[in-house]
Each structure stands twice: as structure tokens, then as C-alpha cells.
């Protein structure tokens, strides 16, 4: 027995020694040998990067993008900010000016900046742009090969600072391929790739940088990347806005949401990309230094992305707009906002995200039209729009959230959105009956006498907020007598979405620039020329496979007007009206991203009060944040 006691004692002593050796205050999850006050630590939402040593972003799906590569080291011709921008939403980055098209949009001329250098000292010129295009066209395995091949007839550099693209067909939006909204076609270094035998097998390690930072070090196991400010940062495009504050950037995989919260509470993670609403509430409560996009509720940054109930309109049950409208009128958006975001949602009744410049361009000006909009239920005409729903959500939350909930109508609209469709089961019943559906014993039957079954596909724990929204919608439809079921697709969603193997799903087919009113970013892909036959894979983004001659006409008109032409806004409003009438998707709310910023070491993060850029750290646009950040001390 003495031996046993000695053994237990030894174990206790050993354990104590181990813990004693790692005394409190010892740096835990922060990079070693770098002064903390020089370092900004950001979450890379890609998590652990499998192919950690691969930096050739131009090969399809080969490497990480948001490990700092696109935010800190790469550059391209233009950026559009999803918020207000440092100097307006449009930024001529490597380009010296906006793109110049000829009259029929078959030629685009780009003037480039001079005095911009790669990190190895070679000057950036038009040859790099030409090489970016030609290298990708020559290699189908490269990321933008298909896009460039289908558009570009020739590309030339008449002088070191001019590039002329001749296009195979008119394309008034060709420049958007080189315009960053999250990412874009990044410019590659000709002098590096010229020496490479096969660009598809080239890892580009160590990457030569055109951005303000260069790679300092990285984890071969893909958990972290550290970037260092270039000594010659003045010779990069970001220098126009001043010197970036952080000398070092660390993009890290902090693990699951609860660990991100712990890491930020320990001041070891300055910017969390996204967490569940509950995690954000915990941080807001426990951390005095954490700041989100909104100072108080609803905290999250609304992405220019519009989660919606997306119908498979090739499914017989969802061909009829009356059925789609009936299902919309059975939804209680307040319940969905509570279920999905615990109320921290920004709702939208129309097919444009309520973020960036869109509320001013689309939501507010169209309010009167929405109020007077009528649908015919077959028995009567109703005005389904309720402009007070945003306010109702705010009122509902005020008792529990107190002063965090704004009272000013403009602030409420900004935070929670404006109106949505009234829940109207009677009108829904009339619409379903108009469409030939019937109710037997409390259950809805389709016109051919089968139970009206609706599967709502969600991604499960891969996207919990959307899953919660879908689950609530299923519940609401079930209560109305529809055989609704949740369909958890997990990782199979992209495959099933493309194959059309769904009735409905919670996701988005609407993504916009946010900071620019042009809707062609997503809308062009909704033209019926791209709609696949049933059973064939659908190209992005018209996952609803909706065809409409009226929409085709709008899209074709947009193609003929310039990107900044005010007429495109009017055409965008025509799309909104058509989408409201036809309801090919039921728009729900903005994709609110709960980006949490710890101000212990850095201040000056973008916020709703100072919306100079998007704080979401995996966006290429987030580079503008670096020049505004100042050490907290």
C-alpha cells in the first residue's frame, strides 16, 4: 500500500509541476517573438488549411484565399466597398481610372498606376495584367480560365501602363471580373510565372506580394499565417490612404465558436469573423473591449447577401406564383428572426439585401409601391405588405434588451429592416385553393390529390442560423396543414443545389456589391439562357431555376447600359417589382455576420457609425481596415 500511496503522490507532484511550469500570464494562443502591440490577430474562417504551403491562388480550389493572401498580399484593378469606402465605394486600385468601354462594350481600355512595385522590387506593369489573362486562358485548370476564355478575344499592352481588352461579345460588366467584392481575379507576377514550367503545379511559395504585406511565416499544418508590413509599403496601392497600423497580421484558426469567444475574452483574437448570436451576446455582456458592427443589438454586420426560401420552380408544386405567395403568407417573419438570430436580424421583403447603399436606393424609395402592392387571392384583393414589422421586432425585443434597442424609426429600419409580409393564413388558403389545392381533414392536398409535401433543405450544423430559420418555417407551414419537413443536407448541399435535388432550401441566390446599386452581380445569372433542364446541373446563381421572359427583358436591357448608368437602378427596381409579383424566392433577411472586434490592442475598426469598410476579415476589401487601425495605447 505504501507503493500505491507513493505512486499517487508522485502523480500529484508531477501534475502540479506541469501546471506550475505554465504560470498564468504566460502567452497562450498568440504568436511568439512578435510584440503584441504590433500584431493584429484575425480569424481565418477557412479553419485549418490542408494545403498550407500552397499560395498559387490562380489554380482552382488549390489553396486558402482568406489566410491573408487576398487581404494583405494581392491586388487587382478595382475595389467596390460594400459599405461607404474610405474615399467613396469605388476605388481605382491598380487601375488609375475607371474602365473605358467602347460604344458597344466590345473593348475595354484600362489605364494603370505607375510606381507600384512587387515585394521583390520588380515594377508592376501592364505586362502583369496581360500575363494574368493569358496564363489562365492557356491553362483550363486555373480558376478564371473559363471566364476569361469565354470573354477575351485578345489582350494587349500598348504601353507599360495601358491594357486593352478586346472581347468576344459585348459585355458592359466585364470589368467586374477584376473588381473586388470579397475576391476577384488577382493580378499575378509575370516575372515569376514566366519561369515556371507548369503554372498549375506551381505552389508560389514564398508568394511575391503586390499588397502592403509579405508572408512572414506560416504553419505547415495550416493553423496560422503571419504577414509582415513591407518596408516599401509606400510603393503599394494601399499607401494612398496612409500607413497601415499593424506591422504584423496573423490569420489564425481559433477553432469552434466557444473557443473564439474564450480567445477574445483572453485578448488573443482581435477580430472574430463570425459566431452564433449567443456567442455575440456573451461577448457583449462579458467583454468591455469587444465591439461589433452595431454598438448594441443586433450587433452583426449585414452582408450584401440575401438568405431566402428558394423554391425549385421546376417542381410542379412550386411552378405557380400563387402557391409561392401562399407559402410566404404563412410565414411569421418575427418568429423566423427570433429563431434564426434571436431577433438580431435585418429583414427584407424585397429581393435585394438591406445593406450598404441598397436601403437608400431600393428599400426606402420602393416603400410606397410596396404599401400599395396588391395580390389577387381569387376571392379578393389584399395588400400584403406591413411596413411596421421592423418596428414590431424592435418593440418585441425592447423589454429584454432595454436601451440597446433603438427608438428612432430610421435607426430601427437600419438595424432591423423595414416591413415584411403580414402573416395571413386566410389569404394563403384562398391562394392555394385558387391554385387547385384542397384541404382534407386539416391537410393540404395538391391538385392531383397527393399530400402537399414540402422539404426544406438546410445545411445543419454547418450553417446553424439558416438551419434554425428553416426549422421555424417548417413548423409554421406544418401548423397550416402542409406536410413540411426539414431536410438536413449537411455537406451535400452544394451538390444537391446544383442538381436541383430539393423542393426548397434556405440559402441565397441574391448577392450584390452592397456599396454599388448595380444588381447584375447576381441578376445576369438569372437569365433564362442559363436555366438548366430538370436533372441537369444548374450553374450559379439561379438555384430556383426560374425562367421569366419579363426578367430576361430587364436583364438584356441592363446589359446594354453602363455600370454606373442611373438607368440600371430603374431596371433594378423593375426586377424588384417583378420578383415581388412572382415570388420565385421568399426573401427573409440579410446574412448578418457577427464579427466581433476587440479594442484592447487596436482601435478604429469599421462600425455602423463609421462604416468606411466591411469589417468581416475574410473579405479582400477588409484591407482598408488596416490603414485606419491605431494602437489602443
Amino acid at each position: 500500500m505504501r507503493c500505491i500511496r507513493a505512486l499517487l503522490l508522485a502523480a500529484c507532484v508531477l501534475g502540479s509541476l506541469v501546471l506550475a511550469s505554465v504560470a498564468p500570464g504566460h502567452a497562450q494562443g498568440i504568436p511568439q517573438n512578435i510584440p503584441r502591440q504590433d500584431l493584429l490577430i484575425l480569424e481565418n474562417p477557412e479553419g485549418t488549411v490542408k494545403n498550407a504551403g500552397w499560395f498559387n491562388i490562380w489554380v482552382i480550389n488549390a489553396s486558402s484565399q482568406s489566410n491573408g493572401l487576398q487581404q494583405a498580399a494581392l491586388d487587382t484593378l478595382w475595389y467596390i466597398d460594400p459599405e461607404s469606402g474610405l474615399d467613396g465605394v469605388w476605388d481605382n486600385s491598380l487601375a488609375a481610372d475607371k474602365p473605358q468601354y467602347n460604344a458597344d462594350f466590345t473593348e475595354m481600355t484600362v489605364k494603370l498606376r505607375s510606381g507600384i512595385f512587387w515585394s521583390d522590387g520588380v515594377e508592376f506593369t501592364a505586362d502583369d495584367v496581360v500575363a494574368t489573362v493569358m496564363t489562365q486562358i492557356k491553362h483550363p485548370a486555373m480558376r478564371f480560365s473559363a471566364v476569361l476564355t469565354s470573354n477575351v478575344a485578345s489582350v494587349d499592352a500598348p504601353d507599360p501602363h495601358t491594357v486593352v481588352f478586346k472581347l468576344k461579345k459585348p459585355n458592359s460588366r466585364f470589368h467586374t471580373n477584376f473588381t473586388v467584392r470579397w475576391g476577384a481575379i488577382w493580378i499575378l507576377p509575370k516575372h515569376v510565372f514566366d519561369k515556371v514550367e507548369d503554372p498549375v503545379k506551381f505552389d508560389f511559395n514564398k508568394p511575391v506580394s503586390l499588397g502592403a504585406y509579405v508572408l512572414h511565416s506560416y504553419d505547415p499544418d495550416g493553423k496560422w499565417y503571419i504577414w509582415q508590413l513591407r518596408d516599401d509599403w509606400q510603393r503599394t496601392t494601399l499607401a494612398r490612404f496612409g500607413k497601415p497600423g499593424p506591422k504584423y497580421l496573423a490569420y489564425v484558426d481559433p477553432g469552434p465558436p466557444e473557443k473564439r469567444v474564450i480567445a477574445q475574452l483572453n485578448h488573443e483574437l482581435d477580430v472574430i469573423h463570425d459566431i452564433a448570436p449567443e456567442g455575440m451576446f456573451a461577448l457583449a455582456k462579458q467583454s468591455k473591449t469587444t465591439r461589433a458592427w452595431f454598438k448594441g443589438f443586433p450587433y452583426g454586420h449585414p452582408d450584401p447577401t440575401l438568405p431566402a426560401v428558394i423554391f425549385n420552380t421546376q417542381n410542379e408544386n412550386f411552378r405557380n406564383p400563387d402557391v409561392r405567395w401562399a407559402l410566404a403568407l404563412l410565414i411569421d417573419i418575427k418568429a423566423v428572426a427570433m429563431a434564426a438570430y434571436r431577433g438580431a436580424a435585418t429583414i427584407s421583403a424585397i429581393g435585394v439585401p438591406p445593406t450598404g447603399t441598397h436601403p437608400a436606393t431600393y428599400h426606402a424609395p420602393m416603400e410606397d409601391w410596396l404599401k400599395s402592392f396588391e395580390i389577387d387571392t381569387g376571392k379578393r384583393k389584399i395588400k400584403p405588405y406591413d411596413p411596421t414589422i421592423g418596428k414590431q421586432i424592435a418593440d418585441m425585443l425592447r423589454p429584454s434588451m432595454g436601451d440597446q434597442i433603438p427608438t428612432d424609426p430610421a435607426d430601427i429600419a437600419k438595424a432591423f429592416g423595414r416591413g415584411w409580409w403580414k402573416t395571413d393564413p386566410v389569404a394563403a388558403q384562398e391562394l392555394l385553393e385558387k391554385a387547385g389545392f384542397s384541404k382534407r381533414g386539416g391537410a393540404w392536398m395538391t391538385p392531383d390529390g397527393k399530400p402537399f409535401s414540402v422539404r426544406v433543405m438546410v445545411e445543419g450544423d454547418l450553417r446553424p442560423v439558416m438551419t434554425r430559420a428553416g426549422t421555424m418555417i417548417v413548423q409554421l407551414w406544418k401548423q397550416a396543414g402542409i406536410d413540411a419537413r426539414i431536410d438536413v443536407a449537411q455537406g451535400t448541399l452544394p451538390t444537391r443545389r446544383a442538381a436541383g435535388d430539393f423542393d426548397t432550401f434556405i440559402g441565397w441566390s441574391v448577392e450584390t456589391w452592397g456599396g454599388h446599386p448595380d444588381l447584375s452581380y447576381f441578376l445576369d445569372s438569372w437569365h433564362s439562357q442559363f436555366v438548366a433542364e430538370p436533372g441537369k446541373p444548374q450553374p450559379l446563381r439561379n438555384w430556383q431555376r426560374w425562367s421569366s421572359p419579363a426578367l430576361d427583358k430587364i436583364i438584356e436591357e441592363i446589359r446594354t447600359v453602363g455600370f454606373d448608368d442611373p438607368k440600371s437602378i430603374e431596371l433594378g427596381k423593375d426586377y424588384v417589382k417583378l420578383a415581388v409579383k412572382e415570388m420565385p424566392t421568399i426573401p427573409l433577411m440579410a446574412y448578418n455576420v457577427f464579427t466581433a472586434m476587440d479594442q484592447t490592442y487596436w482601435t478604429g475598426f469599421p462600425t455602423a457609425e463609421n462604416p468606411y469598410t466591411n469589417p468581416v476579415p475574410n473579405w479582400g476589401n477588409s484591407r482598408y481596415m488596416f490603414v485606419r487601425l491605431k494602437p489602443a495605447s
Binding site: 505554465v22 497562450q28 485549418t48 467586374t176
Partner: protein
Amino acid sequence: MPATTLSSISGAALSGYAGYVGRRLAQFLIVVFIGINIAYLVTHASPIDPVEQSISAVTSFGNTAPDAIEQMRNSLRELYGLGGTPVQQYLTFWKRILSADFGPSLSAFPTPVGTLIVRALPWTAGLLAVSTLVAWVLGNLLGGLAGYYRQSRGLKLMGVIAMGLHPIPYYILAMLLLILFGFIWPVLPISGGAAMNLPQSLTPEYVWSVLQHAILPALSLILIGVGSWFLGMRSLVSNVLAEDYVVYAELAGVKSWRILTSYVMRNALVPQVTGLAMSLGGIFNGAVITEKVFGYPGLGSLLVDAVYAGDYGLVLGVTTVSILGVSVGVLAIDLLYPLLDPRVKVG
């Protein structure tokens, strides 16, 4: 009856043993062949299309025109080698397996699957081998003592602790440790395999960092593992204590420590050794939850990410390594069993 040693095996017995080894080797090869084929079939029956997953990843955030997608789809099919009939694909797969080449990873193209596995394996093997062995030794030692010295208060307490720890879901225990040592009393690293910005090398600073980072994940595995081995061993020892040879040894006045070590624990250990071999073989499955909770690098996360990405090659690579690991573990114990326990007939 103490276990037999190799030196006491006669020539006839050795001949019988050789036949036994031959049969077990044949079984091993059949099991591996069937296992790998099942893995192949399951992987290829997956509803996830790696091409669509790649297209989704590429186009999710970019401005890609729809008319370019079909061209991209065709390029990816060609690039990933997804052409050919199912039979051709199957034969290619076996050719690659036999040359220990799993081809390129589809989700980390064009990096070879073997490279990804070799990179992840040392982390998994290091963490799981050490924690499995420590848990096994501690659990069996304490369980054996608790079974033999049934009146000891300390060991009774150990039993209560073991019974309390054993049913706790692993995830809960891991989270508790994480919150305790990462937040309430933040003395241990909670993420990664080593500190950031330290080059991977055999410097004392890096090695110490690796050890520090392994403490929490290893502790979580050991706490759960010890309970299981402890309870198993205590029950086994209780059974062995009722055997005639133990009773006779006690009557003959053999010292209690010798009875415990040579008569009781040695015989009780045989099934535990089988369990150890299975556990060590299972190391190659990785420890998905441990890796996810503690952000620890390893095979488990690699496998789960590969499944989500529809990365056939990587899934097959990891599962093949896993099948081989478990099969080799079972084979090893099958071959050792007759040497450990003479009651096993080899003829």
C-alpha cells in the same frame, strides 16, 4: 497458472504455431482487402460530388459568369481524373494502392494525399499513442490494485472517480477542461499543436511548446480512458481472485505482492492487452472530437473535412491507413496471444 513463455514451447508446438501464423496472415489479407473495397464502395456511393463542391468553393464569393461554369466543370473532371468507366476507376484505384500512391487530393489539389497524411499522422500518433498507453497503464495498474486490495479507502475512492468519469460524454469533459484551464485559470494553451511563429524543429523551445499544447487534449483522453480500463481491470481481477491457483497460492503462503503481480494481474491482463492492441490500431482513425475541440492537428479532422469536400482520394487514403492500422493491431495480438496465454490452442 502463470502464463507460458516462449522458451517452454516445444518443437511440435512451434510447428503448430507456424501454421497458426499462416492462417492468421491469410485472414489479415482478406480483411484488409474487404475493408478497403468497402471503403471504396462507400466513398463512391457518397452523394457529394467533388466537382460541384470545388465549383461551389470557387464561385461562392467570386463574380463567375454562369456560361463559364460548364467549361470549369469539364476542366475539373479531367483534372481530378474522374473520367473513365467505373471498372477503369476501380482498377486505377488498386494500382495506386499497391504502389502506395493515393493520387492527388481533390480538395487540396494537386498535393498528393500521401503528403497530407504524412503531415497529419505524427500529431495523431503522438497524441493518441501516448495518451492511450498512459491511460492503459494507469487504468490497469489502479484497476488491478483496486480489485485486489478491495478494502483500501483510497482505491475505493479511485473506483468512485472512475465510475463518475467513465459515463461523461467526451465532448463535455473536453469543454470543461477547456473552460477551466483556458479561461477560468488560463494556464494552458487551448488551441493548436504548438505555439504560433515557432519553426517546426527539434529545438527545446519548440519541443516544450508541443508538450504544453498536448497537455489538455492528452489529459481529456487519459481521464476518459483511465476510467474505462480501471473498471475493466477491476472486474477481471475480481474474477481471477476466485481461481483455484490464486486460492492455492494464498494457502501456500506466497507473498501477496507476488500473488498480485505474477498470479492475478498477469492473467487478468490478457484481454486488456487485446483491448490495447485494438486501441493502438484505432489511433489511425484519428480523434475527431479531440482535434476539433482543441484545434489539434491530425488525421481525424483531415478525414471529416475530406468527407465534406467529397475528396475521394483523401477519404480513401485515411481509411486505408486506418484499416491497416486496426488490422495490423489485431494481427499482432493474434500472433502474440498463444505466447501470452497457453490456453489458446494453435494446432
